[in-house]
């Protein structure tokens, strides 16, 4: 029989890239930013992190550079949406396309070379996996137990009210976007540095879009994101594991399951809007709307 512990260990590393990206996007969305550029920021991090790890021989330095690269490319989105008040959805899509193209271009010299091996962390689990798990309570604590987290949520719920109270909506959002970019960058780098150990064009293969779905699934809560990442990662791992064990599984049905769960969660949210708001969740009121100070 299949040992549940081994499934869980596989699940932990399989869900790490989407966990990082989704946590970053969660913070951005709680600040009212709908950034569809996750995939673009992930691939930028995957390339920059790989390049740094390859050049220095230090994978951890690679993750640091990946975070910086993700934050740097997200600046473009910040300029477009916060300075020029461009449409968030269009800017995010543009960021994805831009990131994929840019990474493909600058990635040419790094094709065919291999990253240094990752040192194994406690319990045989990669350090970055541990970091991802630690980020979940940290982000929960930041958003629900700190003053800055409260301001961030206020900006996301009602930017006019936050502005009237004297908070800097644009600065808060710029910081949230940069954080989202850094997290997506680390998530992308996990694929190139820890999973594949090579750079190939388009290697994130849609993980950024799954991260976006997870944020919706999570009902905009940090622990919800963890559950979503485990659900999406877990189903993938489970179906592959069942196949390897020779069990004939309906792959299409299993692959569909997390998306189906997302839809069910969405229906539940809309049916019980009041309840979920009390629980600290539900879509932020100003999500996707740009702020322009009239006074």
């Amino acid at each position: 029989m299949i040992d549940p512990l081994s499934i869980f260990l596989l699940l932990l590393s399989a869900s790490t890239p989407i966990l990082f990206a989704a946590l970053g996007e969660l913070v951005a969305e709680r600040a009212g930013i709908l950034n569809l550029g996750v995939e673009g920021m992930m691939i930028a991090g995957a390339l920059a992190g790989f390049a740094a790890a390859y050049a220095t021989g230090n994978p951890f330095l690679g993750f640091l550079v990946a975070a910086l690269a993700g934050a740097a490319i997200s600046l473009l989105y910040t300029v477009l949406t916060q300075l020029f008040l461009a449409n968030q959805v269009a800017s995010g899509l543009a960021l994805t396309l831009f990131g994929l193209g840019l990474a493909a271009m600058f990635g040419k010299p790094f094709e065919g070379v291999k990253a240094p091996p990752m040192p194994i962390g406690p319990l045989g689990i990669n350090w970055i996996v541990w970091l991802g798990l630690a980020m979940v309570p940290a982000i929960w604590w930041f958003m629900n137990r700190t003053r800055r987290g409260l301001i961030l949520r206020a900006v996301g719920e009602n930017h006019d009210a936050a502005h009237a109270l004297g908070y800097d909506v644009r600065a808060t959002r710029a910081a949230a976007i940069a954080f989202g970019g850094a997290m997506a960058g680390v998530g992308g780098a996990f694929i190139s540095i820890a999973t594949v150990l090579q750079w190939t064009e388009g290697m994130t293969a849609g993980a950024g879009w799954i991260a976006l779905a997870i944020v919706v699934f999570s009902n905009w809560t940090a622990f919800g994101v963890l559950a979503g990442a485990w659900l999406f990662g877990g189903v993938t791992v489970l179906q592959l594991r069942l196949q390897a064990a020779g069990v004939n599984v309906p792959v299409q049905l299993l692959s569909m399951a997390p998306y189906l769960a997302t839809i069910i969660v969405l229906v539940m949210i809309s049916a019980r809007q009041k309840y979920s708001r009390k629980a600290g969740g539900a879509a932020p009121g100003s999500l996707g709307n740009n702020f322009h100070a009239l006074r």
Binding site: I191, T200, G202, T204, A205, V237, L240, R241, G246
Partner: protein, 358 residues
Amino acid sequence: MLRRTLLASASAILMAMAVPAMAQDEPLKIGFIYVGPVGDGGWTFQHDQARLAVEAEYGDRVETTFIESVPEGADAERALTQLALAGNKLIFATSFGFMDPVMNVAAKFPDVKFEHATGYKQAENVATYDARFYEGRAVMGTIAGRMTKSNKIGYIGSFPIPEVIQGINSSFIHARKVNPEVEMKVVWAYSWFDPAKEADAASALLAEGVDVILQHTDSTAPLAKAQEAGAIGFGQASDMAAFSPNPRVSSIIDEWSPYYIKRVGQVLDGTWESGASWAGIGEGEVVIGDITDAVPAEVKAEAEALRDAIGAGEYHPFTGPLNKADGAEWLAEGETAPDSDLQSMNFFVEGITAQIPQ
């Protein structure tokens, strides 16, 4: 003068100037559409290498363009039409899923010649070409059967289509031939290229106790996972030499250059005809990459002998007696598989316990 007449006459003059210049020594324009990025390090990379080989061979007589990362389906039709309208007289469509788009566009441009990889639909101006990857898989299977200590071999399949099933059967038959204890575990990734998922698939196989991984997906992720676990694997489509000598102990390389150079030459001298090409090790279209020192010398010699026998046409990887997985007889003693059986292969051979998803 009306603006419209001005524009019309201006363009007429321009065209009149342009035409003689082109007619002087007009290169043959050749278009390529790729399913993945050129930098995938595998399937598409090899097609692009062959494109460069065509350029190197014919120089100024040809002019090539390519469109990469074209999704299979309706978008492919747009890309093909675009290439045809741009004046390309020969178009290579390098993935199975481009089949119907190629047929549709070919019907609209009868003077453009199309070459479709791994498909089975031909027309007056549509030829198909494929490589006998299963010949290379036989060599991989031999090495796998000799190298495994746990007697469990893993295979990461992309989609359950005949080309992939041939590879699984061929490697299993030859692994078992040298090691009767061998078992084969199969995982379908349902993607040609998804590094994260391929890594997960490899992890799942390794957790089942597999210590040799064969893959029919295009990224190096399974090799990276094999390395972590101390298992071995093989380069797929491209050499993947970054992972040699261990875990990549050998590789199966798609070498399209000979075919592309031949077909372009035929278009240039006007002898091109539609048809279906299916070449293997003998024609140099399937190449076995360097077998590294991680493999004992006698195993290496055995694998190379098999490669040479297949290349010389002395041995067919599907030679009877062979039964299907359900026990029904497929090939009698000494009988070799007809191409029609291979091209529609939808069964595992006896001994593989995995099921083909329907």
